[in-house]
């Protein structure tokens, strides 16, 4: 990590105690430890904090963890803990047995919390610091979660010390809470009326799905804009992570530009089979369903759905001559690889005597036998392709093969 960021964080902590230390002094101390003595940055941060704490006679610098409470970043499930932290986000609980849910953070990190209705705890306010004694940490959907129950004591603290969240690369996110600096890459069609916006954000290490649920005061992200997102919720479903932005703070940085890394894995080969269900499909319009309908507009769950919506996709087999992968290309990739837009496909299906079969045939003849370089994530037995490009002829590869073939000729 960049030492100047650590120095800024330490300087803020000292300032919050009413003392002033030059930031470059702090950075020099850190640099000495890290660069001259090979101390890991986290250890150097602790050393400098405790040194400054003694020097300026300030106590309770967060990070210099005292024995009677735990650093949030170090909480592990199945533990009784006491923490001091700031409520950085509140969300609407979805059960009457829950009084409040949200995120609480200290200088070390952040954790989701749940206050049970039966706990009799005071109502927590966003932006306020609290000392929470004898809470329990458990694991909910693979993410640590702090439970405030009837045996927990919650005391508001007089503190307004600012917090600098630790921003992580997208590739390093884990279920729980995360802060990232990302660009809004892509907007997807929302599958539910309760979703304000869903799509993809990314940084140089990869991309991740995000969702903003409809809620008063929530604005959608602007495509192409860079955001600092503090304390978003990181969820996991089927091995895939996604960011829920409702809990977090979003700060647009309009002048910034960052590169987007593809993440996932690369898969190359030729398309040797295009499966049934490729081309134009009709999807069930029922909120959250999205299943593909039969030709009679029949959804296996919601029966006849005349108000379906159209979608375009390719289910195929990518084969490199050694192994085969089932791949699934969604609308955008299908449009660019098959050279047919969804609107065009709908028009063809409505005007051709073959209907949707005509679209299947066109997509099939556009992709069969073609060499593709795909990027995507392998889930279960299928690769979900996030981007694909035709593999191009490379004269360098030809030259290398000529060398190789001629080696013993």
């Amino acid at each position: 990590m960049d030492l100047s960021i650590i120095a800024a964080r330490i300087s803020q902590k000292i300032q919050s105690k009413g003392k002033n230390v030059e930031q470059h002094q702090i950075e020099a101390k850190l640099r000495l430890l890290v660069e001259e003595f090979g101390v890991p940055p986290a250890e150097a941060e602790r050393t400098v904090i405790s040194e400054l704490g003694r020097e300026y006679q300030v106590q309770g610098l967060a990070g210099a963890v005292e024995s009677d409470r735990h650093a949030i970043a170090e909480l592990v499930p199945e533990e009784w803990v006491t923490i001091e932290g700031k409520v950085v986000g509140l969300s609407t609980p979805n059960s009457p047995s829950i009084a409040q849910t949200g995120i609480i953070a200290d200088a070390s990190g952040a954790i989701r919390f749940v206050v049970w209705a039966k706990a009799g705890a005071p109502h927590l306010e966003a932006g306020q610091w609290y000392r929470i004694e004898s809470a329990v940490v458990d694991e909910f959907r693979k993410a640590p979660n702090l439970k405030v129950h009837s045996g927990t004591t919650v005391t508001p603290l007089e503190s307004d010390q600012p917090l600098l969240p630790t921003v992580k690369p997208v590739a390093d996110l884990k279920p729980g809470v995360g802060s990232v600096r990302v660009k809004m890459v892509q907007e997807w069609e929302a599958r539910s009326d309760r979703i304000l916006q869903t799509g993809l954000v990314g940084d140089p290490t990869g991309t991740i799905k995000f969702t903003i649920w409809k809620e008063d005061g929530r604005e959608p992200l602007v495509p192409g804009t860079v955001y600092d997102i503090y304390y978003a919720t990181v969820d996991e479903y089927n091995g895939r992570l996604s960011l829920i932005l409702n809990s977090g703070t979003l700060i647009p940085d309009e002048d910034a530009e960052i590169e987007i890394g593809a993440g996932g894995q690369a898969f190359s080969g030729a398309i040797v089979h295009v499966g049934q269900g490729s081309g134009l499909v009709k999807r069930c319009p029922v909120e959250g369903c999205n299943r593909v309908l039969s030709r009679q507009n029949y959804c296996p769950i919601h029966e006849i759905q005349p108000d379906f919506r159209y979608d375009l996709r390719v289910k195929a087999v990518l084969d490199d001559g050694v192994t085969t992968k089932n791949i699934l290309m969604q609308r955008e990739t299908t449009e660019s690889i098959a050279g047919i837009l969804l609107e065009e496909a709908v028009e063809i299906a409505e005007n051709s005597p073959l209907g949707m079969d005509e679209v299947f045939l066109r997509v099939q003849s556009a992709v069969m036998g073609r060499y593709l370089d795909c990027h995507g994530r392998e889930m279960d037995t299928t690769v979900l392709v996030t981007s694909a490009e035709p593999h191009r002829f490379d004269p360098g590869a030809l030259a290398a093969l000529i060398d190789r073939a001629g080696g013993e000729a």
């Binding site: 040797v272 089979h273 087999v317 490199d320 037995t381 002829f393 093969l401 073939a405 013993e408 000729a409």
Partner: protein, 198 residues
């Protein structure tokens, strides 16, 4: 025996491994003679052993379809010739390959085509020798660049097989079945690549 538990329930528990489509030049496929079946059940896959020492149940070829022939009255049957830089691969499609048959029916030769098919070795009834052909699963018109990419792909795959010769079970078996020095195919590859360099 434990079946790995899938989050999607039982329907995905049986994992079927699809046979990869091997890249084989016409000159090598033509020399293949040895066909065998793995296992004893009716649906057990059959393989053709390539002289460079790899079994194949499926082949991927891209070349020029120069000629097609329709045969039969009741049972229509198509034969096509697909040319690559090393020679001709014979492709067939009958009633049991309706999709490939309809695709061939629509194609006007000459055209670059991508063929995925199952190799078959058979003897001519009048003692006229042994032939290898591909029973097509799919025949699609493609562009020139796809053909060029395939030549590189087939060249690389052939060289890989030659380099691995003698180190795998299949290649030891090929050493017993064939009297062709696999190094000869290195020359085939070099010639094929030389034609690309114009």
């Amino acid at each position: 025996m434990n079946t790995p538990q899938s989050p999607f329930g039982s329907r995905r528990e049986v994992r079927f491994e699809r046979e990869p489509a091997r890249r084989v030049f016409a000159a090598e496929l033509r020399e293949s003679r040895h066909q065998f079946r793995e296992g004893t059940e009716e649906k057990s896959p059959t393989y053709v052993l390539l002289p460079t020492g790899q079994r194949c149940n499926r082949v991927f070829v891209v070349g020029s379809l120069t000629e097609k022939q329709r045969q039969g009255e009741q049972n229509i049957f198509y034969r096509a010739r697909v040319i690559d830089p090393t020679g001709t691969t014979f492709v067939t499609a009958g009633n049991y390959q309706p999709e490939a048959m309809q695709q061939i029916a629509r194609i006007e030769p000459p055209a670059f085509v991508a063929v995925v098919g199952k190799p078959n070795v058979f003897e001519a009834p009048d003692g006229g020798g042994v032939y290898v052909s591909l029973r097509a699963e799919s025949v699609t018109v493609v562009d020139h660049e796809t053909r060029d990419l395939w030549v590189l792909d087939a060249a690389k795959a052939t060289l890989d097989r030659i380099d691995a010769y003698g180190t795998t079970e299949d290649s030891k078996r090929a050493g017993e079945e064939y009297r062709i020095d696999p190094a000869l195919f290195r020359k085939t590859v070099a010639d094929a690549l030389a034609q690309m360099n114009l």
